[in-house]
Symmetry: D2
């Protein structure tokens, strides 16, 4: 499990005064980048920018359980639930740091993709190794 933590920004709330729901998925992506930061050759940034392999989402399931507001500190706890040959499923739990309440749970399946052809490809060995290091039973 990796823990990614940051505060909800001024511009991340919506006209209802709550964290705009698609931005939960931005937090999820940032947490995934954190998880894969230890990759060699420039980490996740190098994977995308230089090696041209990406991990686009193919499936998402999200439960939103409690509202989040401007200034709330969010702790995202991210683990790998399942690893296939070309895909993997991450599980993110969003915890409101001020009271420990679970604000959201996200299941997030991504597919290893050649960014030049936009076709799926075998997961690079180092991506798999990092994923395995964070694999946890459901």
């Amino acid at each position: 499990m990796v823990v990614y933590e940051r505060v909800v920004r001024f511009q991340e709330v919506d006209a209802a005064g709550l964290l705009y729901f698609p931005r939960f998925l931005s937090f999820a992506h940032e947490a995934m980048e954190e998880l894969f930061a230890p990759l060699g050759e420039g980490g996740y940034v190098g994977l995308i920018r230089d090696r041209r392999v990406g991990l686009p989402a193919v499936h998402l399931e999200t439960d939103f359980r409690a509202p989040v507001r401007y200034g709330d500190r969010i702790r995202v706890e991210t683990a790998v639930e399942r690893i296939g040959t070309r895909s993997l499923t991450l599980r993110h739990r969003f915890v409101r740091a001020r009271d420990g309440v679970t604000a959201a749970v996200v299941r997030h399946t991504v597919v290893s993709t050649d960014l030049s052809t936009l076709k799926s490809c075998e997961m690079p060995a180092d991506v798999r190794r990092v994923a395995e290091a964070h694999q946890e039973p459901v």
Copy 2:
């Protein structure tokens, strides 16, 4: 069904060159605003801003099926799948206008919420009427 259509903007792609996946959910929210635009008292904007009732997401399920790039025109076809006393489920189909390919499908459940207390509330009668007008069997 309502149809909401717009082009993917310059700033909506990510470093992989694809529509950033949380932004599909922004399109979904915009389509929901379109669906509820006929509400009296200022439409969806008035519902949020003046009547202080919101429709925050409580559950999302999304399948991403085809990549979307800068400049692609997306047609979101939005229908109401289910109406409860306090919640309703929308179904959004994202079609790439240039080739008719289904790029994503989103199921999106929202709960009628009093924005002052952040508690769920009965769905206002006019919200229900507009939702019913767009109800379609799965």
Copy 3:
């Protein structure tokens, strides 16, 4: 002059309840895309995506004069103030449609840039022609 008009979206306001000020610049960029949409070979999208020439900003001056809220319709009036060999300056006036108040004025200088080398380049002839068609004395 081109006129680009759209409504401020649910997610474009900030925790103060106003259009988040960097998003005025997004409106400005969208208005510039509108101005250059008549370019051949796929319009502004083709310029960026296929011809790999961009118009990144090198200078901005902005006066914010009146607040803008969720649901406000904004009319951006965009003209070209000056055309050089590699750069041009756009002037955007933001008008709140509900009362005709000028909400902001932006001067926006961009440089014709080869996106492969990130060096400035001579402005393509068709870009210049479209710019000239919208040139207006200050």
Copy 4:
């Protein structure tokens, strides 16, 4: 001077592959939040959310000098250039951490504003004190 530093995110670049220029202003706002974080009663978040005083931008001048890409670490150095009775001017210098190049310079004038009436108001004494602690000659 305060120093605010973070990496450019996956979703912050545009279709040209560069940090989308309005997002420089988001970095500037985040740096201002950092500067005012020491305010009592909940810092900048409390100022906006509980005390209902904001610091909306009224004037911006920005020079963009060097491109910034996904994964670049940006150091924003923020000082206060001028303090009036109701307004103050911040100066932000954006430095690319990998090579020390100045990527942008922003002058950013904000006005102390009562968020209930949207009228300017005298700058709260604690806001002024924090600003004075970071005042630097040009």
